[in-house]
Symmetry: C2
Subunit: 160 residues, 2 copies
DNA sequence: GTTACTGCAAAGCGTTTGCAATTAT
DNA sequence: ATAATTGCAAACGCTTTGCAGTAAC
C-alpha cells in the first residue's frame, strides 16, 4: 500500500461518514502518511505549516483525533507529556521498545507474543479490541546520552 | 507483606536517601498501601483529605512522584486524561486489561508472556528495565455500560 | 443554500513550580 | 540551627472548545 492508496482510503472513510474532504484534512493526511517517523501533535503542526502556514493547531488536533479513532494512526505514551503518533495503515502490527536514556523508539514484531495476547483475552471471555506493549529498555547505541536529562535510569528497585 | 511492612519499607527508603519522613508522607503512604483499588491523583488527594483535610494537592503529587520513581507505585494510562495508580510493593508483576466500554480495569498474570518479553529484549541486545502491556477489551459484565459516554467501541477498522 | 469545517483565542485539565512559612532532623 | 518540606496560588504544557466566518457539498 503506497501513500496515494492510503490517502484514498482515508478520503473514502471520511466521505462514507458524511465528513468533508477539505484541503486541510488532505494536507494533514498527506503529511501523516508521508512520514515514517514518530511525531507528536506539535511536530505535525510544524510539518503541515511547512507546506501551508495557514493550518491551525485546532484543525491538526481535530484531524489527528479522527485518524486515531478511525484506527489509521496510533498514539504511544512516551512519558514526555503528550503522545507520539505513527500511521499504521498498511503496516503490520508491531510493538515498541523505548530507551529510557535517550528516548529512542524501536519497533519490533513477535508472532508468538501476539498469539499469546489473543489467547489470554479469549481465555477470560473477552473480545480483544487492540493492545499496546511497551518495553522500557536501556539501549546500547554509542550516541545514547541523556535526552531526558539523566545518563542512566534508576536501578530497578529491589526493596522487598 | 502486610501494610505495616510496606510502610516501613517506604520509610527506610526515604531515610536512606536523606529524605524526611513527614506526617504527610506517612499519611499518603498509608492511604496508598491501604487501598487495593486503582486511583488517580485527585482521588488520592480526596482519600487523604478524608483523614487530614490539610494535606495539599502539591504534596500529594510530589509524594506520588517519589513513590512512582522508587518503584513502589505504578501508573497506567487509561486514556481518560491522567493516570491511574496502584501500589505494587509486595505484589507480583501483572498486566492489565481495560474494558473500552465501561472503563473497568482487570489484572492478569502470564508467565509465558513475561518470559517472551524478556527474551525479545535480550535478543536485540537491550536490557529490559520494565514494561507495560495493556489489552483493550470489551468486557461482558451485565453492568457494563458507557462510563465513557458510548455503549460500544468502534468496530476494529478493516480498511485495507 | 445548507451544513460541516476552519481559525482564532480563550478556557480546560492535570500537573508542576516559586516562594515564604513550617517542620524534621 | 539547618536544610528539607509544606501549602498556596500562580504558571505550566498539552489539548479542547465556542463562535463567527468560510468552504464543501
Amino acid at each position: 500500500m503506497n501513500a496515494a492508496e492510503e490517502l484514498e482510503t482515508v478520503e473514502r472513510y471520511m466521505r462514507q461518514r458524511g465528513y468533508r474532504w477539505t484541503s486541510q484534512r488532505k494536507l494533514i493526511a498527506e503529511v501523516v502518511f508521508g512520514t515514517h517517523e514518530h511525531f507528536n501533535a506539535e511536530e505535525l503542526l510544524e510539518m503541515c505549516r511547512g507546506v501551508d502556514n495557514q493550518v491551525s493547531r485546532a484543525t491538526v488536533y481535530r484531524t489527528l483525533a479522527m485518524l486515531e479513532s478511525a484506527g489509521f494512526v496510533e498514539g504511544l505514551d512516551t512519558g514526555e507529556g503528550g503522545k507520539r503518533f505513527e500511521h499504521i495503515l498498511g503496516h503490520a502490527h508491531h510493538d515498541h521498545m523505548l530507551c529510557q536514556v535517550c528516548g529512542k523508539i524501536l519497533e519490533f514484531q513477535d508472532a508468538e507474543l501476539e498469539k499469546r495476547k489473543e489467547a489470554i483475552a479469549r481465555a477470560q471471555g473477552f473480545r480483544l479490541l487492540s493492545h499496546s506493549l511497551k518495553l522500557n529498555v536501556e539501549c546500547l547505541d554509542p550516541g545514547c546520552e541523556g535526552r531526558f536529562g539523566r545518563t542512566r535510569p534508576e536501578e530497578p528497585s529491589a526493596h522487598e
